[in-house]
């Protein structure tokens, strides 16, 4: 069965070629849903451009005819972000998959939207950091997330994707150094150093106009090229682990440890998240099991550097214990350790653990939250989750020192059972509602979370947001329905 109308279809075919447009439901159906509870919605067309010019022409057409456009790379950025709330055109960008540049001297790369983490990782590992031809070490790395290798690097970055190495280098959007964007009205703009030369190394000292396109959930334009900082791979790595009897205790340890900025990552997972698969539906943990398990990844340029970091870590643990913090020794299984030291990481932790027990549904209240709120919110979330029959499979991760961190609760649910879907959705929305006053902000927010945010946002902030949106996208064609402001 076909959707849309033939005139628009013909226009789109003229722009990208008939083999790269479809309005057939059999082609459209994979674009209707994702992992989460987002209700499937059918687009009217899927279009696969190859060039910036083609994107410009598609956007001009869409803007003229007021057709929604949903940017899409691999559909793994979840939260229903690519689910077309109001139908329209799925702009599938995976054919734009070139790594345009890897600069091993200035340490940045320029990529297109279709570049997968797999392709990027392979290319970076094959490029050695150097200066004027002199090689310093082997390979580069980036802020690898916990996602399929097919996921888009660019989409992760502009949507504030998180992952490994974030403790040291920050989240992916902090690594963006320049960008090219097609505005909803069809104009192309370069932002950052690339606006002045072919160097894509930095936004600074220019106005940070990249902020108009990061964290906006694809509602303000199509980012077609992205410069990102890359980092030399450190040859020595280790994983150190400790457990704790409470969220309070594990947070105390994490805050003290990350104070020194010595680790690539420090993360803690609750007992329920440490189980494979996650316990679903909820059942209590054994009374003698720790409430939280934590791992931290350290890296260095020499064994001595690693030994120093181990020594510092031990001191932190001893100091905390001396204060009465209940920390429990435990060793990570070798396979899990490997997964943390050889990046990008296998996605086992993200999907395998959930599908058998529950029919494929996974979502989470994924949030950026000040670390002081972790133990407070954990106790609140735990009560909410248990009340809804769900396990509080919670994770804390530190981002770049003491400034902020991630708090989320992985939530399997059974998509085949409407009551299970409802319970999960209700629990997660309630968690978000409980968290916002504590400083927590959901990332890649599904529409329901966005509505919670909008309900309590500063009025001036909402006014400015709407004004920017109206300025950039006067006909509200870009991914409509996601921001909840138009």
């Amino acid at each position: 069965m076909a959707r849309g109308n033939n005139e628009i279809l013909a226009n789109l075919e003229q722009i990208v070629g008939p083999e790269y447009v479809s309005n057939e439901e059999a082609d459209l159906q994979p674009y209707t849903w994702d992992m989460t509870w987002a209700e499937p919605r059918m687009p009217d067309y899927v279009v696969m451009p190859k060039t910036v010019t083609e994107i410009q022409r598609v956007l001009r057409l869409a803007n003229h005819r007021k057709i929604p456009v949903i940017p899409y790379c691999n559909g793994t950025n979840i939260g229903g972000l690519c689910v077309p709330e109001e139908g329209g055109i799925i702009l599938d960008l995976k054919k734009m998959d070139r790594i345009l540049k890897i600069d091993p001297e200035t340490c940045y790369a320029v990529i297109e939207p279709g570049v997968s983490h797999a392709a990027f990782s392979a290319a970076l590992k094959a490029t050695n950091p150097q200066w004027k031809g002199e090689e310093f070490s082997k390979g580069f790395e980036f802020g690898w997330g916990v996602h399929p290798a097919s996921a888009s690097v660019l989409a992760m970055a502009i949507n504030h994707g998180i992952g490994h190495l974030n403790g040291r280098i920050g989240i992916n959007s902090q690594l963006i150094s320049s960008m090219e964007v097609v505005l909803p009205t069809g104009e192309v703009a370069k932002i950052g150093s690339c606006a002045y030369s072919d160097s894509w190394h930095s936004f600074l000292p220019l106005p940070r106009m990249d902020g108009l396109f990061t964290g906006w959930l694809g509602t303000t334009g199509i980012v077609t090229k992205l410069g990102v900082w890359i980092f030399p791979i450190r040859p020595y790595r280790d994983v150190l682990t400790i457990a704790a009897a409470s969220a309070e205790d594990i947070t105390k340890y994490m805050v003290r440890w990350r104070h020194y900025s010595l680790c690539d990552e420090v993360t803690a997972v609750s007992w329920w998240l440490a189980q494979i698969p996650i316990v679903f539906p909820y059942s209590p943990k054994p009374a003698d099991a720790p409430e939280f398990f934590s791992y931290t990844v350290i890296s260095g340029w020499s064994e001595e550097e690693l030994a120093y970091k181990r020594k510092m870590w031990k001191e932190v643990v001893e100091k905390e214990r001396a204060k009465g913090t209940k920390l429990i020794d435990f060793e990570y299984p070798p396979e899990a350790k490997k997964g943390r030291t050889e990046l990008p990481s296998r996605i086992v932790g993200s999907t395998k653990n959930y599908s058998k027990s529950c029919g494929g549904g996974i979502a989470w209240p994924g949030t950026f939250a000040p670390c002081r709120s972790w133990p407070i919110l954990y106790e609140k979330w735990k009560e909410i989750y248990i009340r809804h029959g769900l396990s509080p499979a919670t994770r804390f991760t530190d981002y770049q020192g003491a400034h902020y961190g991630m708090l989320r609760c992985m939530t399997p649910f059974n998509k085949r059972d409407p009551a299970s879907v409802q319970a999960a959705r209700d629990a997660m929305v309630e968690c978000v509602r409980a968290g916002i006053p504590e400083g927590m902000l959901p990332y890649k927010p599904p529409v329901e979370y966005q509505n919670e945010l909008n309900a309590v946002a500063d009025a001036g902030y909402m006014y400015l947001m709407a004004k920017i949106k109206d300025m950039l996208d006067p006909n509200n064609i870009m991914n409509p329905g996601k921001l909840g402001i138009r």
Binding site: M1, D27, W33, T351
Partner: protein, 413 residues
């Protein structure tokens, strides 16, 4: 609400909905990637996704999504749905990458989808319909008379084959009708190696093309017929040079779902199924084979999907090749579990010859990039597609089956 099983008329699909619903839609299946090592393998493996681009075609996620959309009654059948289903070569690359609990069921689900498609008024490829209309009486998909099945066998052997033997050499349809030199080389090799075997004139198609294209009802009598052959000829097993036959006899006949179809057709028990390379490797390991010559060529090996990803036989053919004096084995970038399909499987060669040969052409270019003079494989069907692509692309590469390499230069110790 939309994930409820509503269309229960799709019985074969509905039966496995428990597994279909385990796909999390994560997209791991869409790209080949090796985690962890210092230099990562990363490449597109999905033949169909590479050609047709849309997510509907890419990896198992698109097809799982199609299955769900049909089961949820969110979309109806269409010619496009049939195109999505029948352009998949069933190479198993998506299954290889899958990390969720649907993993073992992926290929079975593709076949169940195709089974359901046959019952709808949709565009099943004409060529598949054509061979399917005669296979029930000719017992091969090449529309050749069954009486000519053994024409490849030298006349001096044809009537001197024993009526009882330890093994039945199951040549398969492709070697019997299209790549007769592989069948002849295999028989010659087995004789040189003094293997107790016979060739039978009532061998029928193993049913691989039928199962892979979802023709469950038609497949039944083929499975039943071939399963009875070992007892009839007093044999303890089958030897086959064909990876498709190996997968079908060795898995579909003997294993329950999701690996095979024994749950549907009954289990073949007590029958050994060997690929020719298994036999050679075993005899090499026992020191029973002596090389009488050399093969001084640079050779690259193409993993047939049915032997590789479907049956996880990766090293056996390589071990055989490595044992050949003078032979220098070089690998293509995409190899073993990350191999790239020749483009022929899943009914694609019959259904979409141009696309199939285009895929084979990509594989030929990859083989050329190794600097090899010759590409070898362990499947007459892969042989056919690759050899045709070599010719079509005017490549300088030569193509030989492993058996053809080995046969002239060995003898039993």
């Amino acid at each position: 609400m939309s994930h409820l099983l509503k269309n229960k008329e799709l019985k074969e699909l509905a039966k496995i909905y428990d597994y279909v619903s385990m796909c999390t839609h994560c997209g791991n299946c869409k790209y080949g990637y090796e985690y962890g090592s210092a230099s990562n393998f990363a490449a597109m493996l999905c033949v169909q996704g590479e050609k047709f681009n849309f997510d509907s075609y890419r990896g198992s996620r698109g097809k799982v999504s199609l299955a769900r959309s049909l089961l949820h009654n969110r979309i109806g059948w269409s010619d496009k749905a049939a195109h999505v289903l029948f352009t998949c070569t069933s190479c198993g690359a998506c299954q290889q990458m899958c990390e969720t609990d649907i993993k073992p069921w992926i290929l079975r689900m593709f076949e169940a989808l195709r089974y359901e498609a046959w019952k709808q008024n949709v565009a099943i490829p004409e060529n598949i319909k054509a061979w399917s209309s005669t296979i029930g009486t000719l017992y091969n998909p090449y529309k050749e008379p069954h009486e000519k099945r053994l024409d490849w066998l030298p006349s001096d052997l044809r009537y001197s084959m024993p009526t009882k033997a330890e093994y039945i050499y199951f040549a398969g349809c492709t070697a019997s009708y299209r790549r007769k030199q592989i069948a002849r080389a295999t028989v010659s090799l087995l004789r040189k190696l003094k293997v107790d075997f016979t060739v039978v004139d009532d061998e029928w198609c193993c049913a691989s093309p039928l199962l892979r294209t979802g023709q469950y009802d038609l497949a039944a009598k083929f499975v039943e017929h071939n399963k009875a052959l070992p007892e009839k000829y007093g044999a303890s097993g089958f030897i086959t040079t064909c990876s498709g036959c190996y997968r079908t006899l060795g898995r579909d006949y003997t294993m329950d779902a999701p690996e095979g179809y024994a749950d549907k057709y009954g289990k073949m028990t007590g029958v050994k199924v060997l690929h020719t390379t298994h036999l050679i490797e075993e005899m090499l390991n026992k020191g029973e084979i002596e090389f009488t010559g050399r093969f001084d060529k640079k050779v690259t090996y193409h993993d047939p999907c049915h032997l590789g990803r479907h049956a996880e036989v990766y090293e056996t053919p390589r071990n055989v090749l490595k044992a050949v004096p003078g032979l220098q084995l070089v690998e293509m970038y995409r190899n073993r579990k990350f191999s790239y399909c020749c483009g022929a499987g899943g009914g694609v060669r019959g259904g979409f010859a141009d696309y199939s040969l285009e895929t084979a052409g990509k594989r030929v270019r990859e083989a050329e990039a190794t600097g090899a003079e010759l590409v070898t494989s362990a499947c007459p069907f892969c042989y056919t597609n690759l050899a045709d692509a070599i010719e079509l692309n005017k490549s300088q590469l030569k193509m030989e089956d492993i058996v053809e390499i080995i046969e002239p230069i060995v003898r039993r110790k």
